[in-house]
Symmetry: C2
Subunit: 328 residues, 2 copies
């Protein structure tokens, strides 16, 4: 399998990037993926300075290979100091998702970071390049957690064509060797993996929630705003979060206004359930690729197997058949 | 590129299937795709006997290669006689979409047809096999026209695993060589192509509508019920239709109940716009792959180029790079 130019630029041996899952991709998971030859991106989430400092201490302690840090851009706009904190650790990559990255791109470039901007439409991809993105991450609606409505398979090649010669990375639904190979075939130079790495030993998440990912089907995930509402987070349109449907979801998903009105009464039990790793009364983000999650494993095992299987799938399909080639 | 077992079984030289777009995939388009080495499936739509008879006369006049006929299953249940009419033409493939195929599978098998069942979730895939499907078509939400909510990229491998050893075909978002190659990499044995073939010379659609597909982006498509409501079609849940957003959509998409109430007054102008090929006041189904539609061309040119480009993409990726393999 040919290395992509982006892999060469970053010195990666695997075309796999650990998604910056807020609060979940800490220094341990990010470093594990970077040490395996991919790129780990710590998820700075809503910008808790103590958490970010602790996890970036951890990532630089655990790896000397390239790693990154990812921000929720609309949240960063309210707490821009977390970007300066992160840049002091000299990340190879800074990733901005969900909002206008223009105010932050120059600062990241000034510290030598490669800037990834995650987008959900072709129009957003053009805006990201105009704002100074080095790499565009095209994220499909099948992704777990926050995202929007277009699907990965047709979005990635459309973005590749729209922003060429900028490199494009795929995100959303990539959870095994087949989906990784598909991302590369679509023109992506690497793939962002979230849900599959949530179910890793190194992810900062409750073991009950990781195990729940092994049990559920992608049929059971939905995009919703209710988990943002109960947490008091005012996410801008068009972003919603894909989560595993559960008792909490069934109770509220058709009544978001009622949930907003009842938030003060409802939030304590939700937060308690969340802390206890209760998959029915708390929140479990998951993408549609969760069908392909079959065990909680070390991150290095996951990403190495994904790459090896992708390579095998591509080699098998490229081999000539007995009857000649389909296009002959 | 290796031929898939399903291609061998059907005698295809291209892994491309023309979607049974109701009223659009007639005998001319279906035969053109079959003659090019793929499989054309006439779209019987809502079961207009005169239309089906005319188009099946046309397909058997134009090709001696395998072809198919596709039904909207919940509609067929109301007019089952159209299945008997179609089976008299000896289609190689009968495809059932959107509803329970169980009452019809035996009749198709009795006339020697291979039965394709199109599904939108992993659970539906298991039901299709239980109902007697020979081949499962896993359709993602990015597809134009009717469909549901799961996305092609993670759905296809999950369905492959769920129904093995039954062959799986991918549908939704497949509109060029990259997306076709991705479908094969995901484990599909062929891909159903709709929107890209709507923009073909042979499609039974107004030239203005075909040209509109060249102009629009997948960013401009949405799933909606309003075009079924204005046509008086009571589609069952969970199916919606993906269409190009236009003036009609902007006027009604947030007020489906109001449209239902106003239908008698609104429908005549809608139907007139539709007949005139007015893309703003009529209906234009399109999938998210429409970004990849760059010209209206003969179907044979489209499908042969898709297969050749898919082969080239796979060959390029499978080739070893200078620096060794990513998984090494």
């Amino acid at each position: 399998m040919r290395r992509t130019p982006l892999m060469d630029q970053l010195g990666l041996t695997l075309p796999v990037i650990a998604a910056p899952m807020g609060g979940v991709t800490g220094g341990w998971l990010a470093a594990a993926v970077s040490e395996a030859g991919g790129l780990g991106i710590v998820g700075a989430g809503y910008g808790d300075l103590d958490w970010v400092r602790r996890e970036l201490d951890e990532v630089v302690r655990r790896t000397t290979r390239p790693w990154g840090v990812g921000f929720i851009t609309w949240s960063l706009a309210r707490r821009p100091e977390v970007l300066d904190l992160a840049l002091a650790y000299r990340p190879a990559v800074v990733m901005f998702s969900f909002g206008d990255p223009a105010p932050f791109v120059d600062r990241a470039h000034a510290r030598g970071a490669l800037v990834f901007c995650q987008v959900q439409t072709v129009a957003m991809a053009r805006e990201a390049v105009a704002a100074g993105a080095d790499v565009v991450v095209a994220q499909g609606t099948e992704a777990g957690g926050h995202g929007a409505r277009r699907a990965t398979l047709p979005l990635v090649p459309a973005v590749v064509d729209a922003v060429a010669p900028h490199p494009v990375v795929a995100a959303g639904g990539i959870a095994d060797g087949r989906t990784l190979a598909a991302a590369l075939v679509l023109g992506a130079q690497a793939a962002v993996v979230g849900t599959r790495l949530y179910a890793s030993a190194e992810a900062l998440a409750h073991p009950r929630l990781k195990q729940r990912l092994v049990e559920v089907s992608g049929d059971m995930t939905e995009r919703t705003r209710i988990f943002d509402i109960v947490r008091g987070l005012n996410w801008p349109a068009p972003f919603t979060g894909r989560a595993v449907t559960n008792a909490f979801w069934r109770r509220w998903h058709e009544r978001p206004e009622a949930l907003a009105a009842a938030r003060e009464a409802v939030a304590p039990a939700f937060e308690q359930a969340q802390a206890a790793g209760d998959p029915e009364e708390g929140l479990l983000w998951a993408g549609e690729g969760v069908d392909l999650v079959r065990a909680v494993e070390p991150a290095a095992v996951i990403v190495r197997r994904m790459a090896a299987e992708a390579e095998a799938v591509l080699a098998a399909l490229a081999a000539p058949g007995d009857g000649g080639t389909p296009s002959a």
